[in-house]
């Protein structure tokens, strides 16, 4: 696959550069060249004529980037070859190609909650700090103060290396049906206790209304539980790499999960993913629905939803120890194997720039990481998301923590604990199930951090 690059102008250019470097050893010219480079202002056209490959996931975000690639090409003169693959297949493709050391792409769109640790552990991404420090490379408008902390936590490694630029945040929020709440005169819950209480009062199987709905399907259901776990002051792993998923906090939060879904949830919720939950909520058959922030568009769409204008967007209620919104996020990084890190860096800066972030919000394709995008989008006339949603988003992002452990075998973690949670909905004892899952997963975790 490497040969492909050989007759391309950029490799010719590289050879010229190498020749230049050779000349540097000989004498005077290059020093001047070097200072010129150092002082050169940022120029989007710097890599004109080069070509990069981008691997994205099929999602509203992926669609948005692809739609505006032409604009990037006009802006920079860099040609973008892009491929959009459904999430699961994209993750498989990425692992297999990166593992081979010769991936077909320069830039990869990634889901931090699944891929971050895996990529970091295998050292598959390029540290962006040298390019960020280079004034001729970094867009002066790239201001990290404008990036929400939740996104930066994911993009920056504990040792300070910047491995990617985030572009989408997905904090978990509570959608609630204002009509159902008002009918019983119940206010939106502020605490976990009020939340279970509200679910109990609003649950009305006779009328086909569930007090609560959310993911019960294994694997998908783990963030619902972690939303409670974090509020109980629990976590996934302690400083020594031991799972803390069978602590009293974990068990209490699992009991809450089993109660809300098993007792106040709809029939068959053990098989529900977000789409079944969404359908039920949109039909006005559920009082509360806990899921990621990205569902405002369908809920407010009169052709799909029966509860347009009645949807409340609530920040996750406070638990006994903390008020936390479980967070998922996406970003873009450059592979360590890329032969075009420069143009690739231009691409990811463009993808996370203010204009693209504003467009993402306007198109209801996601929740931007850049705070300025919210104000910018609100000014435009075609921005349809309710103000309450924007407020909920900003408040949630401020209290957000990763909704899944940042480990390599995330999928296995979700599978193991997902099965435990599904069993609890169907009546199994939370403490026993968690102990079993923890014992089962600890060796997998140990091995992944060793190997």
């Amino acid at each position: 696959m490497n040969d492909r690059h050989d007759d391309h102008p950029d490799s010719i250019r590289r050879r010229l550069l190498q020749a230049g470097a050779g000349a540097a050893a000989l004498g005077a010219v290059p020093a001047a060249v070097r200072t010129a480079t150092a002082q050169a202002p940022f120029d989007w056209k710097k890599f004109k004529g080069e070509k990069i490959e981008v691997l994205l996931t099929k999602s509203p975000r992926g669609d948005l980037f692809t739609k505006y690639h032409k604009e990037f090409e006009d802006l920079t003169g860099i040609i973008v070859g892009s491929e959009m693959v459904p999430e699961q297949q994209q993750r498989q493709k990425a692992v297999i190609e990166l593992n081979s050391g010769n991936p077909s792409f320069d830039v990869i769109g990634m889901s931090y909650h699944v891929q971050k640790r895996q990529f970091a552990k295998n050292n598959w991404l390029l540290d962006l700090r040298p390019m960020l420090a280079d004034k001729s490379m970094a867009d002066p408008n790239l201001d990290f103060n404008d990036f929400a902390q939740g996104g930066l936590n994911y993009a920056v490694e504990p040792d300070g290396r910047v491995m990617s630029l985030p572009f989408n945040l997905d904090p978990w929020v509570v959608y609630y049906n204002k009509e159902i709440f008002a009918a019983k005169g119940i206010p939106y819950p502020k605490t976990f206790a009020e939340m279970t209480d509200a679910a109990a009062k609003l649950n009305d199987p006779g009328k086909g209304i569930s007090g609560f709905v959310g993911r019960g399907l294994k694997n998908a259901n783990v963030p619902v539980w972690s939303s409670f776990l974090l509020g109980y002051g629990g976590g996934f792993i302690d400083a020594n790499g031991k799972l803390t998923t069978d602590t009293p906090e974990a068990i209490e939060s699992a009991k809450m999960y089993a109660l809300l879904l098993g007792k106040y949830g709809p029939q068959g919720v053990a098989g529900f993913n977000w789409n079944e939950s969404q359908t039920l909520f949109m039909q006005g058959k559920a009082a509360m629905w806990l899921d990621g922030i990205g569902f405002a568009a369908p809920l407010e769409d009169p052709t799909k939803s029966r509860i347009v204008g009645k949807v409340g967007y609530g920040v996750m209620p406070a638990g006994p120890k903390a008020q936390v919104s479980a967070l998922f996020a996406d970003g873009e990084g450059i592979t360590r194997f890329s032969k075009k890190p420069g143009p690739a860096f231009f691409y990811i800066q463009w993808a996370s720039n203010k204009q693209m972030q504003t467009r993402m919000l306007q198109a209801a394709a996601g929740a931007p990481v850049r705070k300025s995008a919210y104000a910018a989008a609100a000014q435009s006339s075609d921005f349809k998301s309710p103000k309450e949603w924007v407020d909920c988003m900003l408040a949630s992002a401020a209290i957000a923590k990763p909704g899944l452990p940042v480990i390599a075998p995330v999928t296995e973690f979700r599978d193991t604990f997902g099965i435990a949670l599904t069993n609890m909905i169907n009546g199994a004892d939370p403490a026993t199930e968690l102990k079993k899952a923890t014992a089962e997963f600890q060796p997998v975790l140990d091995k992944s951090e060793k190997g």
């Binding site: 498989q92 692992v95 399907l217 098989g271 529900f272 296995e412």
Partner: protein, 302 residues
């Protein structure tokens, strides 16, 4: 022909050479088989002896993967699920398909047209079928529970219940594959001689006796063929189960194939997944031998 005219030693040499040439002719097929069947097989066997997760260094562990599988409750359950699913998904279409074939074997108006309608499910794409059935199974919005409510039966949880999930999945299999059994048995019925029936009727045999003592033994070999095809299909079933229940709720409908898929393509445990494949292969081999044995028996009784 012309070799007859040649002296014996020359002829022998010629034949030997010819045999050598003939052996050479099988070479392309041999290479293809070695490359696409033998090599992957041996490589799988080799990988199953390693503890290897994609992205990490592989360690040689010998038979450790197999030892772990032997005590892995989830894997053992997946074998049970596979055989439970397979048994239902073979027997029920076989019974219903035979019944349908007997019906369609009789003369009645629009028979050709109705036969065509009956075989239509077979032509549909499994994933599309699975998606439609998922909607029909939905406990609140699904049409199946609506139909039950019309006749006064309380709603069922279908694939959302750990106990009902496999029978529900089998329902999809039955809908999809009964027509295939029907076609095979119908072919069998069409080839049957009419004389035994005539003489049996003269002797005053009832319809049931006709079926039990003439039709059934005569179409038994065709039923075995249908059973073999159905068994192969049911054992390798993946798409419908993956789309409808993904092995859930929990692991209630996790068959070997789904377990294998998770190990290989979600957890990237290639070594363990290879061991699963090998075990599965041995199980299939054992079943194939059993079916061959049954077929031999069917031949004798026929």
């Amino acid at each position: 022909m012309t070799t007859d005219a040649l002296p014996a030693p020359i002829r022998a040499g010629f034949l030997a050479r010819r045999r050598r040439h003939m052996r050479l002719l099988t070479l392309p097929a041999m290479i293809v088989i070695a490359a696409v069947i033998l090599f992957p097989w041996l490589f799988t066997l080799w990988m199953s002896a390693f503890d290897w997760k994609i992205g990490t260094v592989a360690h040689f562990v010998g038979v450790d993967n197999y030892v772990k599988l032997a005590t892995n409750q989830r894997f053992i359950e997946s074998i049970v699920h596979t055989f439970y699913f397979t048994a239902l998904a073979v027997v029920l279409p076989l019974v219903l398909g035979t019944a349908a074939a007997l019906v369609f074997h009789r003369q009645f108006p629009y028979r050709g047209f109705l036969r065509a309608v009956f075989t239509m499910p077979m032509m549909a794409t499994p994933v599309a079928i699975a998606l439609v059935w998922t909607m029909m199974f939905h406990p609140q919005q699904g049409v199946l529970n609506y139909l039950l409510s019309l006749v006064g039966i309380p709603p069922l949880l279908w694939v959302y219940s750990p106990t009902l999930v496999i029978p529900s999945l089998v329902l999809v299999e039955i809908w999809h594959w009964t027509p295939l059994v029907m076609l095979i048995v119908l072919g069998g019925l069409a080839s049957l001689p009419t004389e035994p029936y005539e003489s049996a009727r003269l002797d005053g045999a009832s319809e049931w006796q006709l079926f039990r003592y003439i039709t059934f033994p005569l179409v038994a070999p065709f039923l075995v063929v249908a059973a073999v095809i159905r068994t192969i299909d049911a054992l390798k079933a993946f798409d419908t189960i993956y789309v409808i229940s993904s092995g859930g709720p929990g692991t209630a409908s996790e068959t070997i194939n789904l377990y294998l898929y998770l190990q290989a393509f979600a957890f990237y445990n290639v070594g363990n997944a290879s061991a699963v494949v090998v075990v599965f292969f041995v199980l299939i081999l054992a079943m194939a031998m059993l079916l061959l044995h049954v077929r031999q028996k069917a031949k004798w009784t026929a």
